[in-house]
Amino acid sequence: MALKESEAIVLRTYPLREADLLVTLFTRLEGKVHAVARSAKKSKRRFGGALEPLTYVRAYYEDRERQELARLDSCDVLESPLADEVSYSRAIALEHVAELLDELLPDREANDAVFRLTLSVLAQMQHEAFWMPITYFELWMTRLMGYLPELSECIVCGRELNGDRAFFHALADGLMCLDDKRLASSEISAESRAIAAQMFRAPVESFTGASWPRSSASDLRKFLLQTLQRHIEKKLVTAGMLEKM
């Protein structure tokens, strides 16, 4: 079969048999693809650092007859996370992006909006300020996957929430007003809702420079992760790591 060529982002690798690696790629051409990289564990020369998580590569792969797994022929590195210093917190942020993509994207379904989002967010993750790009990525992923409810009205009574207090709950599919909130709900501040509205109007680059401590929009991130985890019906490992960071 013909060799396919596509820009791709490496999501994760698993050891497979003796020396092979199973690689999950997010390709621009056809979305998430699982491929086998033969001898990648033994002969580092063929793939070098190209299979590290969140490496932006040009991948060459081919489908094999009657087989689910493609064969990864080679990868050229376009942008490596190893080019900048990798702190522990940066590794958590990068692998959080990888886990979200891996868990949320269906196999073999191109999604150029998510691909462009990922590239622009990764470009903002070169240094130590992660909370802004993480928030931006979680927000847009929730929306692009179709899981984001309307943030401006109460899901119970339909009342406008702008200017009023708003609450969310792990089992509720949207925000609630003060009268309708469930027991053990958390509040999402008007400020954080305003940040979300801004993030829908502007590219991620426009938010750099401003100081973004962990506390900025932390309620929004909690709401987004609850929403995402409810849809995929599992806990995200890196969400727990971010919490402990």
Binding site: P15, R45, V77, L82, Y88, T238, G240, M241
Partner: protein, 199 residues
């Protein structure tokens, strides 16, 4: 798999738990054991039992050993003030092969891996900090893998180990000896440039 006798099924099931062994290989190995002599089968069983009974982690460096402290930590000729930090016990052999390292080791038993939920608490980091805290260490060489997670581990350790009296170094990353610069990928080349030395 009802077609095998119960003891055979049990052996196949146990073998299948080994890394890289699927159903086919497990059956092949099980039949090999069945055909081998009683002495050979007994020796295999004894070797498996003994490895668990007699091997443990060195109380100083966490290397796998049958004596505690291990041969490196109890050696009078090795420089006990020079500690090389590695991810896995098997990495020690790679350093030993050079025959040019005369220090001792510290095995982390893994690296920081957010995707697998492995943070500093899951690694043997506290015991490394204790070793340094107790004095007696002049230099720590960080020999974790040149991967995203290995780098994250080294960066984390370097900040945790920061003390005025301690030298913390990272092994160089770069072009394999005997290879050609023309065929070196850009990340490796970048790291090789960063790690250049005065001549």
């Amino acid at each position: 798999m009802g077609r095998f006798a119960e003891p055979m099924t049990r052996l196949i099931d146990e073998l299948k738990k080994l890394p890289g062994i699927g159903s086919k290989s497990a059956q092949r190995l099980a039949f090999y054991v069945l055909r081998s002599s009683d002495a050979d089968a007994e020796a295999l069983a004894a070797a498996i039992r003994d490895v668990k009974a007699s091997l443990r982690l060195c109380s100083v460096c966490n290397n796998i050993t049958d004596v505690d402290p291990c041969v490196y930590c109890s050696s009078a000729t090795r420089n006990q003030r020079l500690v090389c930090v590695v991810e896995e016990p098997t990495n020690i052999a790679a350093v030993e092969k050079t025959k040019h390292f005369n220090g001792v080791y510290h095995v982390l038993h893994g690296c920081l891996s957010p995707l697998h939920g492995i943070g500093p608490e899951q690694l043997k980091i506290a015991s490394l900090l204790r070793r340094v805290e107790n004095g007696g260490v002049d230099e720590v060489i960080l020999a974790t893998n040149p991967t995203v997670e290995g780098e994250a581990t080294a960066t984390y350790l370097s900040s945790e180990l920061r003390r005025p009296s301690l030298r913390v170094t990272r092994i160089a990353m770069g072009i394999p000896v005997g290879s050609d610069i023309e065929y070196t990928d850009e990340v490796t080349m970048l790291k090789a440039m960063e790690g250049r030395r005065e001549m």
